[in-house]
């Protein structure tokens, strides 16, 4: 209601245009290129050039050849997201409600490890989960793992790596949501005969849903597309779709197949996100 609120006029456009133009040129337009590439004649090559022949069969071929890594990526990403939610919720809740004056410091500590190179961190997981490493030896000693059992080159290692690497994407939005909850509401639920567990599920959890939704999205999307963890901690049996796309581009030089697979991944993720947001009833997040 004030004259000092948002100003109209050309200045707004001038400020926005450089960034918007950059995103249009290098984010939106590339999608068009990707779509076009996915419909090229697959018999072309990088050197001879490609013909636009509207080859929709690129898509069916991509699905036929690579449905396994695609499904695997969604499963690994999903499981890692759930694990992140579990660990991240505990951490975010503890920081928001139990850390007192150490809140800011702990928040900083959550982020700090993740400023260290993603690849270097993942390599250290390789060491930690190594066949004669402490984790494997301990698990073998308590017979959770057979004497020849290993963690590296199994789905367990890949999912563990994904969970670790994308944890802060979960913790930060969860924290932001939980931190906003008025602690008196939880006390009120206790006063109204809800035991702590019921109080959690009837008050804290529903109020933290916006954080849960944005956290799961920010974890799931990059986790599905990631292939560094699968490559460094897994075996070819754990190959994820990102790895397939990348090697189709760089090694096989099969651009149409790579582009088609990329499009399929994007469409799948967008569809899942939309369904998820609708079911969670949090459309306003977009």
């Amino acid at each position: 209601m004030s004259d000092f609120q948002r100003r109209r006029g050309a200045v707004g456009y001038l400020l926005l245009i450089p960034a918007a133009l950059w995103l249009v040129l290098f984010f939106v337009v590339p999608f068009y290129s990707l779509l076009a590439t996915s419909l090229y004649d697959p018999s072309g090559s990088d050197f001879r050039g490609y013909q636009m022949t509207y080859e929709w069969s690129n898509y069916t071929h991509a699905l036929q050849d690579y449905w396994q890594p695609l499904v695997r990526s969604l499963i690994y990403g999903g499981v890692a997201t759930l694990l992140c939610l579990l660990l991240g919720y505990v951490l975010a809740y503890a920081i928001a409600f139990k850390a007192g004056r150490w809140k800011n410091l702990l928040l900083v500590l959550v982020i700090a490890p993740f400023f260290t190179s993603f690849l270097v961190r993942t390599l250290s997981w390789k060491l930690i989960l190594a066949d004669d490493g402490i984790v494997v030896n301990t698990l073998q000693a308590v017979h959770l793992l057979g004497p020849d059992g290993r963690l590296l080159a199994t789905p367990v290692a890949v999912i563990a790596g994904l969970t670790y690497n994308f944890l802060p994407f979960m913790v930060l939005p969860l924290f932001a949501s939980i931190d906003k909850i008025d602690h008196r509401l939880i006390e009120a639920s206790g006063d109204l005969y809800a035991n702590p567990v019921v109080g959690f599920f009837k008050v804290t959890w529903p109020l933290s849903l916006p954080g849960v939704v944005s956290g799961t999205l920010l974890t799931f999307i990059p986790a599905v597309g990631d292939f560094i963890n699968a490559q460094l901690l897994g075996s070819p049996n754990q190959r994820m779709v990102g790895s397939v796309i990348q090697s189709l581009f760089t090694d096989a030089n099969d651009y149409p197949a790579a582009a088609a697979l990329s499009m399929i991944l994007m469409v799948l993720i967008v569809a899942m996100v939309l369904v998820y947001i609708r079911r969670a009833g949090t459309e306003e997040l977009l």
Binding site: L15, L16, V28, L107, S124, W125, Y164, D179, V224, S262
Partner: protein, 281 residues
């Protein structure tokens, strides 16, 4: 007594355990930076040495890749921070047709898988006949693109949280619009801009998936690590990892310390809080 204490502190304990878990690989990185390996092929701790710290550039190609990553990181940070900050001001302070479309445009890159963005850019570069010229410039273009959104949301959150009364008070106290901006608005938004710049640098420095697709023959540090991961990792990689960790800890703790000195109670949010806010938005 003890039972009650454990019950009261259970959540905090579990939270600290999770936090400790996030530091396990860091501990390994630090430890391995002092490792004297017996063989390049077996990745385990064999003995203590200062050698890696004293000879960081034993493999010159690592330091070259590191230098390349720093160059790209700085350039991408500068451009993305400037463009992103301008856009954040436009979105918070100005009203124009297409505001919500612009907000969506800024949100989408953060919600797209890197592999898809990387493929799209490669498809664009190849389609525009730049397929043979992939390298420093194509990487830079890509990095600016994915850093931009993070800058906009970080600065936007900071700017939106600014009390308009402060600017009105400045004008009431005889500050012209430009004085109001430079004496009040900018100093108050600056921590957000700084946080955005740090975030940009770390995103750029750390990126592998998009970079790898658009790098041509150029090698960045993550690409170097990726390459040596297959054939034996020099321990100096862990020296770099340790230094990065120490630098980031120093930066965030310095910010935290400054805030603690500045005030107890209501203050400007720290970089960490800015990040938390932008993630949630």
């Amino acid at each position: 007594m003890t039972g009650r204490w454990i019950r009261d502190h259970l959540v905090l304990m579990l939270g600290l355990l999770v936090l400790a878990y996030t530091f396990i690989p860091i501990a390994v990185v630090v430890l391995m930076s002092f490792n004297a390996p017996q063989s390049r092929l077996i990745y385990r701790f064999d003995g203590f040495t200062m050698h890696n710290w004293l000879n960081p550039c034993e493999d010159p190609s690592m330091c070259q890749a590191l230098g390349r990553s720093i160059e790209i990181g700085l350039a991408a940070t500068i451009v993305a921070t400037i463009l992103g900050t301008l856009a954040a001001f436009a979105l918070v302070r100005h009203d124009f047709a297409g505001r919500s479309a612009s907000n969506l445009l800024i949100f989408l890159p953060m919600a797209s898988p890197e592999i898809v963005m990387g493929s799209s850019l490669l498809a664009l570069f190849v389609a525009s006949g730049l397929g043979g010229q992939l390298g420093f410039w194509t990487i830079l273009v890509a990095h600016i693109m994915f850093c931009l959104s993070f800058v906009v949301v970080t600065v936007r959150a900071r700017l939106a949280g600014l009390d308009d009364n402060l600017e009105q008070a400045a004008m009431d106290l005889y500050a012209t619009p430009s004085q109001t901006f430079w004496r009040v608005t900018f100093p108050l938004v600056f921590p957000g801009i700084l946080g955005a710049a740090l975030l940009s640098f770390s995103l750029s420095f750390d990126d592998f998936i998009i970079t790898n697709l658009n790098a041509g023959n150029t090698t960045t540090f993550p690409m170097y690590v990726w390459g040596v991961a297959q054939r034996g990792v020099p321990m100096q990689v862990n020296v770099v990892g340790t230094v990065m960790f120490l630098i980031s800890i120093a930066i965030v703790l310095a910010g935290e310390l400054r805030n603690r000195q500045r005030a107890k109670g209501l203050t400007a949010p720290t970089v960490a809080e800015d990040l938390a806010v932008q993630r949630a938005s």
